[in-house]
Amino acid sequence: MATLELIKLSKRYGKNIWGAKNVNLKVNEGEFIVFLGPSGCGKTTTLRMIAGLEEVTEGQVIIDGNDVTYLEPRKREVSMVFQSYAVWPHMTVYENIAFPLRLKKEPKENIDTVVREVAAMVKIEEYLERYPRQLSGGQRQRVALARALAVKPKIFLMDEPLSNLDAKLRVKMRTELKAIHSKTGATTIFVTHDQSEALSMADRIVVMRNGHIEQVGTPDEVYFDSENVFVAGFIGTPPTNFFKMNIKHENNQLKVFNENLEFALPNKIKNLLNNYNKNQVILGIRPESFEIVENRENSYFTEKILVVEPQGSHQIVALEIGDQIVKIVAPSFPKYKANDVINISFDEDRIMLFDIETEKRIRG
């Protein structure tokens, strides 16, 4: 268990391609941090710099107050679970787990105890004598996990550890990983491009794009209180609906409009724009913040349904407004069907306004 601090951490490839740029982050003891972002966003590069597998171009990596930026990986007391598992094929499961302990020159009896302990934790006791090629992908992943747990690292690094597993197993392993984390309390950095993985596991999510951090926050914060258009659009399935709107003052009201929509902003939101002097704004509304209402007077706009995607627990209603598809998450009942005309309202508290130029959140 340890703290981790990244200060202006940067990685440059070649002359001016930045794998990661100016990454600043403070991780508390025992925290479960998820790096989330599309592929090529620098999350793995950052993780590898923490591990010591990637040379740092600029900045510092600090573990427990010690600058480890230029230390060899083995001296950093971190352990890692790789996407490809990276278990050693020429060693039995037992040897795979014991090997790092042997390198640390732990006493023999001690090694045996630890190996059996972590094997029990990830439920692979009966496979200790097998070779990795005799195991399934999921079991190999457990071996990799056991190996990482056995060394009792200061920091646990996981590079998309679940993405090679099938969908069902992935969800199951998520729960197990979280249970293991709460048992060991190890500071963990988990890299993924899967937002539902991030939302379900993280204490805090670090959303990254193009090598820099877009937002750091709890799952609720990044979801309900997104910092910018990218975060709001990246997180959530279906993602946030965005509307590019013009602003006009009319009859003491603040109205927003485009070719297809026009409505007055509720007072709460209106105030956010007091100091905003551009004449366009981006409105971000999450699919579940919409509400389908019976009464047209209570609605902001009325539209014909394009398609309905039933999901069991809820249904996704898609509308076509202009050339834009808008998705609404509605309860399973009442059932809607294509071409139904519905009145749409939304939860005023949960609208997000973004600057038309910087795409940053407008917070008044």
Binding site: A51, G52, L53, E72, P73, R74, V78, S79, M80, F82, Q83, S84, Y85, A86, V87, W88, P89, H90, F99, P100, L103, K104, R133, R147, V151
Partner: protein, 307 residues
């Protein structure tokens, strides 16, 4: 009914040409050679061809020289090839160029290599010229490379052979290294390995099947060395097994059947060495390769000796 019958026979029909080819061009000559080695010119059964060889003082020397050659050259070549493969695998700037350059000797036929080096090591050869040109030696102190004793001569051959063969081994090892997932090596560093421990405990074991392939192929071809020796020293200066086979077949009349007997002996030696090697080195993780390896070996020496 007809359909299943057809199904049964079609596969055999399809491999018939191959089987015929092997019987006519491979099995028949091999068998003939073995049979002929047990008969004299008037077709009477005899062990004389073999007895002659075992009494021949050159045979002992040939076995001795070949053994020394195999042990030293394979060890030397393996170590250098492995180091080169590890260096080139680092993928630094120019590693591709180094790879291309280091492959040149492999592209040259043994005859050309022999000619090149024999003209180099002659007292008026190009090596002395270069040394003279750079003022390392003067005209009266030319180095007489070819005048050494038997052991020195053998060492010279080993160096020349190494020059030509190292790229071949290196390519096999490099291919093996490149097939090791990067993650496995990195995991080694993360979990406490130094460069040396990772090399010893992770890279080398994972490279084992490539090492086996490289070594076995090399050991077999090292047992068969002869052309370079003949190119540089001529026949019977440094007798080795295969050189004796060629000597009896080409250089003296009437010893054709002795040459055949010699071939049989060399084949047996190669088989024994290969089998011992495979047994000792174990099946490794490359169990699936073992079968092909043995086949490879069989094909290799049989084609070289009998056809």
């Amino acid at each position: 009914m007809k359909n299943t019958l057809e199904k049964k026979w079609v596969p055999y029909l399809l491999i018939t040409p191959t089987i015929l080819f092997y019987i006519i061009f491979w099995f028949r000559p091999v068998l003939t050679a073995i049979i002929y080695s047990f008969f004299d010119e008037s077709n009477i059964f005899t062990l004389n061809n073999y007895i002659y060889i075992f009494k021949d003082p050159f045979f002992k020397q040939a076995v001795f020289n070949t053994t020394i050659f195999v042990v030293i050259s394979v060890t030397l070549e393996f170590l250098i090839a492995l180091s080169l493969a590890l260096i080139i695998n680092k993928k630094f700037k120019g590693s591709q160029i180094l790879l291309s350059i280091s492959l040149i000797p492999m592209a040259l036929p043994a005859v050309a290599v022999g000619a090149m080096w024999s003209s180099g090591f002659a007292s008026y050869g190009w090596i002395n010229s270069i040394l003279y040109h750079f003022g390392i030696i003067d005209a009266n102190h030319k180095i007489l490379f070819l005048a050494g004793n038997d052991f020195q001569s053998l060492m010279l051959i080993i160096l020349i052979d190494a020059w030509q063969v190292i790229p071949f081994m290196m390519v096999i090892l490099l291919a093996g290294l490149q097939s090791i997932p990067k993650d496995s090596i990195e995991a080694g560093y993360i979990f406490g390995g130094t460069k040396f421990t990772v090399l010893k405990k992770i890279t080398m074991p994972m490279l084992k099947s490539s090492i086996q392939t490289a070594l076995i192929l090399r050991i077999i071809s090292a047992i068969q060395v002869w052309l370079i020796i003949v190119m540089i020293y001529g026949y019977r200066r440094i007798p080795v097994l295969l050189e004796e086979v060629v000597f009896y077949k080409k250089q003296v009349l009437g010893f054709y059947r002795v040459a055949l007997a010699y071939s049989v002996i060399v084949s047996i030696i190669v088989s024994i060495v290969s089998i011992i090697y495979l047994k000792v080195s174990g099946p490794s993780k490359g169990r699936k390769y073992k079968c092909t390896k043995v086949n490879h070996i069989k094909k290799y020496y049989i084609q070289h000796y009998f056809i």
